[in-house]
Symmetry: none
Subunit: 149 residues, 2 copies
DNA sequence: ATGCATAAGGTCAGAAAAGGTCAAATATCA
DNA sequence: TGATATTTGACCTTTTCTGACCTTATGCAT
């Protein structure tokens, strides 16, 4: 089996394990794969390209790393599915969890998630009766997400 | 974790605790972080730069110190001002006009404005009584804008 | 006032720790 | 066999960490 293939498999499985985000140390991986470090770059540039749905970021220097992110190709579809899955009432915690998940899945970026979270927060619902807040939250959650469709 | 990162985090949390002004003793911090003093300077010059919105002042000699100040960026200042200007109740039209204005002033981008507009729309407030909607809207408007600060 | 001792903080160069590039050598495949 | 893909290694760049040496301020003794 080609080493490139092994490296690629390995990264792919890391991505599967960790919600589409894998972080590696180039040298460590090279050692564990029994290849020279630059081979990692070869695999990344030949297979983990944006056209194939990946983003590769890195930092040099002490504590450096290479981060590979799988980008959600059918964002709109995933988003629509997510919206449909929202019930008629949503607790604060579940809204937060929902947004975090969507962020991890690449449907939202951090700021979008933070904005929506603020709009879903009980802090904003001071004068709304307790028993109606979860219903309002669900409604706002759906409405804001629809904008991103 | 990189020591630089730890130091940076620490200073940032000091800034958060104390209204954007942190005062440290270089040697003490170095000891508590387990690094040499000059590493503190490294972190300050590499991360707490004016471009990133910080001012660093210091004094040598007995009773010396290093003071890091987070400077109010223009956008944040404008944003804060805008938020303060929001009353306790906001009509749908005025929320929309407000967001459009903020967008024109460069405080928001189009998508942020659209997201917040959705969270402020009556469409999301179906089961909230008419007379309470403007109050809820004002609250949500403020809460979401605060995220961008 | 003067001159040291002490207590800070500042600078800079070099080592160390990552990751990046590129071209030559090899292997694979159509 | 010719084109394309893989492998390797020499050399480069960026970021972090360390230590030796420098400058400035304060306080105290004379």
């Amino acid at each position: 089996m080609k080493i490139s293939e092994l490296i690629s498999q390995h990264i792919l499985s890391l991505l599967d394990e960790a919600d589409g985000i894998a972080e590696i140390q180039r040298n460590d991986l090279a050692v564990s794969m029994g290849c020279v470090p630059s081979q990692i770059n070869y695999v990344l540039t030949s297979r983990f390209t944006p056209e194939r749905g990946f983003i590769v970021e890195s930092r040099r220097g002490g504590g450096g790393y290479i981060r590979i992110t799988r980008i959600q190709m059918n964002r709109a579809e995933a988003l629509a599915h997510a919206i449909r899955s929202i019930g008629d009432a949503v607790s604060p915690a579940s809204a937060q969890g929902f947004l975090t998940l969507m962020m991890q899945e690449g449907m939202l970026d951090r700021e979008q998630a933070a904005l929506i979270a603020a709009a879903c927060s009980d802090r904003a619902y001071k004068n709304v009766p307790q028993h109606e807040r979860d219903i309002l939250r669900a409604s706002i959650l759906k409405n804001t997400l629809l904008v991103l469709l």
